[in-house]
Symmetry: C2
Subunit: 802 residues, 2 copies
């Protein structure tokens, strides 16, 4: 990367004197606005000497990264105009909003979206004041930021979001600024490998720009403190062609950045042109840029004798303690005036026309790119009729099917009808999760090397629409980027390891919540649909580390307006639920369904009714003549989840056979939030409805897929809660058979029968004998499993006997 | 990396013919055992022809990675013997236990630890059968595995665990095998940078071995499908000197591996020697090895006409459908016999002495290295008296302090007394979390470049004991490795972003649970102590994405034997709790305490009493003359968490001033699990104790730090649960002031007073006026905050008025 004299020459004269002057002026305006946002609540144009009262009481926002962010932004603007680019900007560094909001305001979008932040003195004052201010906007690129689909509040996802956005978006270039702090996170460190999944014919391009400003809150960054050689190796190793723009003198840096950015953009164009003309999709070495610039660039060199510019002290607010400190007010005023606002804005506060001209207009502005408000581009999925994929169920509980397999067929045909705006994402398990029918219409995308052997069942191709990488972080980031730019997707993953991306779920749910409730101009996007498969009850063989049904616990902590959780008990219910989720908008839908063979309960018609209600009595399973007399039941057997439902039914069958006089009601829950009070979740049942299902006073034996206390968390206000006895996973697992694992956690048929015997007094003298038989059955099963390594009968050998 | 002829010469003749023969025989024995574990339940030595009945009913375990894992293991053994090395082995690839258990058994450790798995035919049969068998052991390197401190069940942590183990362990070399699948995960991708924190004078060394066998479950791996050049760049970029051992012919591969491994080990020794003699700690390019070998190496080349060896079909069980399939039985028998067991074991089933001689003995065996059962090396921390760090509190609720600052002083002196076995870990926030007193005795370790400016407050040094990297994954991995090898540590992190490592918490808790309950030979290790700071209630300014108190919800899902959660309300309580946690063993202790200035309530003596009880009545705060008559109180004001407690006290003060006749009891909870039933958690109160604190029938207004429903989840069985009204964070945040954020979530004093008014009927006519005044106060506060950006009075301006 050592520059040749010629290259230096080109770099140093890339912009004409006039271009340089203007671009630098525009940047000064950006920096002026960034400082203004952090500090000022009045006197925005400094028309009078700055006073203490004009400075905000509370100084928030991060100066350190801001000048670099706007520097990149305006250099992109130049090329957007020059080459008519379609570009979205993503700011990875935390709290970098001042560096983005400045140019967004200067190019007029901000005032269009928020008219009271007008392009004049009053508007600028309002624009400054609202920043990091109660009732105003945050210091990240939150949903309120025009042009943003990446908040950056939690670090590490900018690259995966960027790559997700450009999938199937051939004209789009996402400029993804990676903070050198966030570059240390795991999700970011592996997301560089996303380039192995980008097809230059069909997809757009990401231009990663590593913003190496050297410092985090109080530390240098790793990538800023390794040798230039190591840094270059690292990015070549990740498969990029790195360009370096390094320095601090603005004039030289403008020239270097202009030249380098143009080189990179032209390389991207060339790569795409070549691939698209030849029709040959190969993985190129995509360009990326390392911008090494001082932290807090152009800010105070030192404050109170302490080095500030180009140091960690610039990270947040480089100059604080503004009250009763005229010296600091003076530094701030000098700093602001160093940008010469009077040469940038006219007397009304409007950016001078010759500078405004530097920005693109209309939807060419990165702040107004429709991809960054993807809901407005979103087209409904073309959906086949899910009923056509159902399993034939003539009688409940007699036939078996792999629950996820029909879903695979359904997804296959959805894929076939939506070959430019639908993708399926999973770590390495599309086939393992029985969704492999999808491969009939689209295989896995793979832009790394393909070898001859791959033809033998590897299902790889350069234009596949199934995305597999062993990084839940990258997958979810891709999908989020894909959805936020107006497309559709489906993410399936291991139940226990969904926790790897707990925090990504949290952040996306918060993003959706704000979009829905606070940002009316954002159009609705497709829901994030997550199938948790390889679930706890069939992880008996993989052991304890693979058993964790707690992801849904996290989900229930988020706003009820954006989260939905479904436990379809069989294949037809799964189809109905999936169909509903794939059509929905602005939710995170979590569907929990195991991939193994399971008993089938409902025909398609009944499944649709049941899933539409979300919860209901299975009349065929109980014997309480429900409907004629509401509380006739002696006991309510309730279930939620596939295996839990089967075991609960098996217990019900034993109860009905052993105690014909016992009136059993069977309730199944598909939509978890039905359990919650209607005031807490829009899906929640009214108390009247809940009581009519669960009775006001009879024992309820609730067999749950997950941790049992989650059911209590959702139902503690219910009338009959004190009679609610919940079974679920309670961390009692190791290497087991399926039935043994169920037994150890007491969700099995035998323990459920015992639970009923222990709670229903009128069962008579037979109860003690039945109870004893159940105990014996448990012991026999366990003994057989320990001897033979399998269940006898196997958990699935059971059929509904009535 | 192109080998020169000389190098090839050396590589190909590194082992003598005799050495080669033996080492290959030992490897054949390992592979024989691996296949045996996966398939056989009888006829372990194949003394008779194999029958279907001798094959397990259920075939589990992963063959694909196993031959590579044992290949590495036995080559390490050679060098351990030759150079008297102190080495621990960590197997990153998932389900790789057969490749590790084989050599562990052959070198005798397994039979020493588990005598019934003796070194004879009967023992071998038992050893085979228990593998992935109910009541037996898992397919990962679970806690039951001698020599393991890394299960590998969830992928991605092997490097961070390895680096944690070698900190302050100058003689130890950890051979960390990285699976090429797990190499795609984020945590693994960034953990390579751990080498920037390793001081060759004081720390040991990690030798990473990337096991490039090419395939995951059903896909190739990224790193196996980039060019050799890219791969080499990548590891040079990560700061390593990569060596490549590539091929499939066992003879050649043994020679290459022997030569390369020896080179790498000698380089490590040389680096350490040079640093230790010169006293100059520099970051070297540590060696690492890329072992590219076929997946399922030495297994069936093809099965039923499908390519198997060196392909993804070898990932798990390459040969299945063993029943009613004599052809497959034949293939299995041929495969097993291809290792020539009769040349490896004597008639009794014992490994031949000439082979046994290849393994080290005693604690030199990696399977018996005491570092892999770190509890036996653990020494108690030398602890100063935490009482000496207390804040002077003459009267409750009058003075303020930053709660974490005294803890910083305490940690500083713990550090000073334990300069070889205690470290502090945090993403980038030791100073931000007010723990910077630690720097007085030990700064941050930093082996990347240090520049002149760093002298000005960066607190960096090559022998620091504070570990900061912006990767929660790496930090927690380091700490786990450090603890499991017998040392002590303290991890502090952002409350909201603790979710980044939810899954690591899950895995570590499960590890501890199994160690404690199933593996008696494992000695206790120090607890994983986590301080969550920068908590939700003071993230008003950072906004919605930084507000998430749900980590503790996850924690409560795990076994009550290994999890503890504390909410110290003030600085003295935090000291008492931290002291307790730092002395404890085998727990994950989560402490939630904000770093900002907070009101102080208890002097040290009272704080100790209160924290020892874990929950208690604050008599000074209430006016119900508690003790004389248990249920005299009209209302119970309960609180848990620092800000929640302050607001609850402020509400109590208003109530007492406005309604002198109202009898208020004030209960504070430090130890969250006190709320749970004693049968659910060992810390849980009996019903009698709970009722005596919370009454059987009076309204309880419980102000909680986290999501309110967690309290319901813990208390739903309690007598007075139907009167329990919980306030907490309910996702109502954006950019706020602290009090406004409290108000929006109704944990503030005003809303709490209203809650009481709405639930206590006998307050009389004044109630309506007080209620109205509270409403007005809320509106006034919000209006002031919106205008001025700050609270008035600020949330901390309040003092306890009595």
């Amino acid at each position: 990367m050592v520059a040749t004299p010629d290259k230096i020459q080109i770099e140093q004269t890339h912009l004409s004197v006039e271009e340089l002057r203007k671009i630098h002026a525009f940047w000064r305006a950006c920096n002026y606005l960034a400082v203004g946002m952090i500090y000022l609540q009045d006197n925005p144009l400094l028309k009078e000497p700055l006073t203490e009262q004009q400075v905000k009481n509370r100084l928030l926002g991060h100066w350190g990264t801001s000048p670099g962010l706007s520097f990149i932004y305006i250099h992109l603007n130049r090329l957007i105009k020059k080459y008519d680019l379609n570009t979205v900007y993503m700011a990875g560094p935390g709290h970098g909003a001042p560096g983005v909001l400045g140019p967004v305001y200067l190019e007029g979008t901000y005032s269009e979206v928020y008219p009271e932040k007008s392009e004049d003195e009053e508007g600028m004052k309002a624009f400054f004041k609202q920043f990091s201010f109660p009732g105003g906007i945050g210091s990240h690129c939150t949903p309120e930021t025009p042009g943003s689909i990446h908040e950056g509040g939690e670090l590490g996802y900018v690259l995966s979001h960027a790559y997700g956005a450009i999938l199937d978006n051939p004209d789009l270039i996402v400029a993804a600024v990676v903070g050198d702090g966030e570059a240390e996170t795991g999700p970011l460190a592996t997301a560089w490998h996303s380039n192995k999944f980008i097809n230059p014919i069909r997809d757009g391009a990401v231009l990663p720009i590593l913003h190496l400003n050297g410092y985090k809150i109080a530390n240098p960054t790793i990538l800023a403190r390794i040798s230039h050689e190591e840094l270059e190796y690292l990015f070549k190793g990740y498969g990029y062609k790195p360009y370096f723009v390094e320095g601090s003198d603005p004039e030289i840096m403008h020239q270097k950045m202009a030249a380098t950015l143009e080189t990179a953009i032209l390389e991207i164009k060339e790569i795409q042109k070549e691939a698209r003309i030849s029709g040959i999709a190969q993985r190129p070495m995509w360009p990326m840029i390392v911008l090494r610039s001082p932290k807090g660039w152009t800010g105070p060199a030192s404050v109170d004798g302490k080095k500030t510019e180009d140091f960690w002290r610039s990270h947040q607010v480089p100059l604080s303690g503004m009250h009763n400190n005229p010296g600091h007010i003076k530094i701030l005023e000098d700093w602001l005036r160093s940008y010469k606002p009077e040469e940038l804005f006219d007397a009304t506060g409007k950016l001078l026309p010759e500078l405004k001209d530097l920005a693109p207009t209309g939807t060419h502005r990165m702040s107004a790119n429709p991809n960054a408000n993807g809901g407005i581009l979103r087209k409904d999925l073309k959906m086949p009729d899910f009923r056509d994929y159902g399993v034939t169920v003539d009688h409940p509980g007699k036939v078996e099917a792999e629950n996820t397999k029909p879903l695979g067929n359904f997804l296959r045909d959805i894929m076939a009808k939506n070959m430019t705006n639908f993708r399926v994402f999973g770590p390495d398990e599309t086939a393992s999760n029985r969704l492999n029918a999808i491969y009939e219409v689209s295989k896995k995308v793979w832009m790394a090397d393909i070898i001859e052997d791959d033809a033998d069942g590897s299902e790889l191709t350069t234009d596949g629409r199934v995305m597999e990488m062993l990084s839940e972080h990258t997958l979810q980031g891709w999908l989020e980027g894909y959805l936020l730019t107006g497309r559709h997707g489906f993410f399936h993953t291991y139940e226990a390891f969904a926790h790897v991306v707990d925090s990504m779920f949290n952040q996306h749910a918060k993003w959706l919540d704000i979009c829905k409730n606070e940002v009316p101009w954002r159009a609705s996007v497709s829901s994030l649909n997550i199938l948790l498969s390889s679930t706890v009850w069939r992880q008996d063989h993989n052991g304890f580390s693979h058993q964790d049904p707690g992801y849904v616990d996290l989900v229930t902590n988020k706003s009820s307006e954006v989260v939905r959780v479904y436990f379809p008990p069989d294949a037809n219910c799964l189809l109905s639920v999936a169909n509903h989720c794939l059509k929905s908008q602005d939710y995170v839908n979590v569907i929990v369904a195991d991939k193994q063979k399971h008993l089938q309960f409902l025909n398609m018609e009944d499944a649709i009714k049941h899933c539409t209600k979300g919860i209901g009595i299975w009349e065929w399973a109980g014997n309480d003549d429900c409907g004629t007399e509401p509380d006739l039941a002696d006991v309510v057997m309730a279930s939620c989840g596939d295996v839990a439902t089967k075991e609960s039914l098996a217990a019900t069958a034993i109860l009905r056979q052993e105690f014909p006089q016992l009136k059993v009601r069977f309730v199944n829950v598909v939509d978890l939030f039905k359990l919650q009070d209607h005031s807490e979740h829009p899906h929640g049942l009214s108390d009247w409805d809940f009581d009519s299902l669960f009775t006001k006073d009879k024992p309820i034996i609730f067999n749950f897929h997950g941790y049992p206390w989650l059911i209590h968390k959702l139902t503690y206000r219910r009338t009959n809660h004190h009679n609610l006895h919940v079974r679920g996973y309670k961390e009692k697992g190791n290497i087991n058979t399926p039935l043994e694992l169920a037994i150890n956690n007491q969700i099995d048929r035998f323990n459920l029968v015992i639970d009923v015997i222990d709670r229903v007094p009128k069962l008579g003298s037979a109860a003690a004998y039945v109870r004893e038989r159940m105990k014996n059955a448990i012991i026999e099963h366990r003994a057989y499993a320990y001897e033979n390594g399998i269940d006898k009968p196997e958990i699935n050998d059971w059929k509904w006997p009535f």
